[in-house]
């Protein structure tokens, strides 16, 4: 893809959102594959940095999708990645929300939830490994990643403090 084809980009995101059960982290591997590995529109490091920027901003973490679109093609790019996720998902939600109020205990709902949860977790694990490989270049980076995991699992701290500590570690040249 020499010139960015916005139509193809938004169609790809549209297809993605129908399988994005479990939230925006499950489609990260696929967006990375499409944007970085297949079409070479940005580097893996840029991808990870954009993800991080969106994490630092207020709002839902799905905003990394908007920012990737914006980075690729400005406002049109942001619309091309964000709207395909917004419109079909919201419409379906309204429809199912309505059905659910009528039939709150349908067994098919339970089966879908129980069946898809493990897949969602597997996909999020894939996202985490892709990001970890994109951002870490030596043992010090891996050490900080592990330390972050240990702290989050043990302490109820606001993640923003950890991000600030990471920024500091970067500025003083530790990583």
């Amino acid at each position: 893809m020499d010139r960015l084809d916005l139509g193809a980009l938004s169609l790809h995101f549209l297809a993605l959102w129908f399988v994005a059960v479990g939230g925006p982290s499950t489609i990260l591997p696929e967006i990375h594959r499409y944007v970085v590995e297949v079409n070479h529109l940005m580097t893996s490091t840029q991808f990870a940095e954009i993800y991080t920027l969106a994490q630092v901003a207020p709002g839902p973490n799905v905003m990394y999708v908007t920012l990737i679109g914006w980075q690729l093609a400005g406002w049109a790019g942001a619309a091309a990645t964000t709207l395909p996720l917004l419109v079909p998902a919201s419409t379906l939600t309204l429809l199912v929300g309505h059905l659910n109020e009528r039939y709150p205990n349908a067994p098919i709902g339970r089966a879908i939830r129980r069946g898809l949860t493990p897949i969602t977790i597997g996909l999020m694990f894939a996202s985490a490994t892709i990001l970890i490989r994109a951002v870490n270049h030596d043992w010090r980076g891996y050490l900080i990643t592990l330390l972050t995991v240990a702290l989050v699992l043990r302490k109820p701290w606001n993640p923003l403090w950890l991000l600030a500590a990471g920024a500091l570690a970067g500025i003083v040249g530790f990583v």
């Binding site: 709150p104 067994p107 069946g115 493990p118 597997g122 999020m124 972050t148 500025i171």
Partner: protein, 184 residues
């Protein structure tokens, strides 16, 4: 469940817009916490139980789960205009903020200090995601089947780097059918 529609209060579109703007703009590092606090504790639009039910349903549907919750709450209290107003408040501001950060990134992202700070934060952000996954995985039942499906999804998408649509197309119907059988 009995029909409770008649006594459900109607809430104006502007109030919905403001409330969801407030939720999303307080949501540094995750909006779920603030959604619960505002909708259940402050505004008392939902009971604890209703909140969990809507959130679970939002998780089950494609799309970000808190966005799905926003759509359902907006629709429940304000119809179609309410849903649109809630979503506009919930997504509009973060969109502007994040694009503002994108502009700063394009302008100053190449400065050495900014590069170093971003590199450090990115390492932490990757760790935060891994920690979230571990927390979620701890509530999976200790049986072989869920772990098998999780592992297959990870290997297909994360290691072999196959397209997500193929992997989901192959795994999802199989996993749901297996869970359906277990129910019976």
């Amino acid at each position: 469940m009995t029909q409770t529609e008649p006594d459900r209060p109607q809430i104006g579109a502007f109030t919905l817009f403001l409330t969801f703007s407030w939720i999303t703009l307080s949501g540094f590092g995750g909006v779920m916490f603030w959604a619960r606090r505002v909708l259940v504790e402050r505004r008392r639009w939902l009971t604890e139980r209703e909140f969990v039910d809507l959130l679970t349903l939002g998780q089950l549907l494609p799309g970000p789960n808190v966005l799905n919750l926003t759509v359902m709450v907006g629709h429940r209290f304000g119809g179609w205009t309410g849903a649109a107003a809630a979503v506009a408040g919930f997504l509009g501001w973060p969109c502007l903020v994040v694009i503002g950060m994108g502009i700063l990134y394009q302008r100053y992202g190449a400065l050495p200090q900014v590069q170093q700070a971003l590199a450090g934060m990115s390492i932490v952000a990757a760790g935060l995601l891994l920690a979230t996954v571990i927390k979620l995985a701890m509530v999976l039942p200790r049986r072989w089947r869920p772990w098998l499906f999780g592992t297959l999804a990870f290997v297909g998408v994360g290691v072999l780097r196959w397209p997500l649509l193929w992997v989901m197309g192959a795994l999802a119907p199989w996993a749901v059918a297996a869970a359906w059988k277990e129910n019976e």
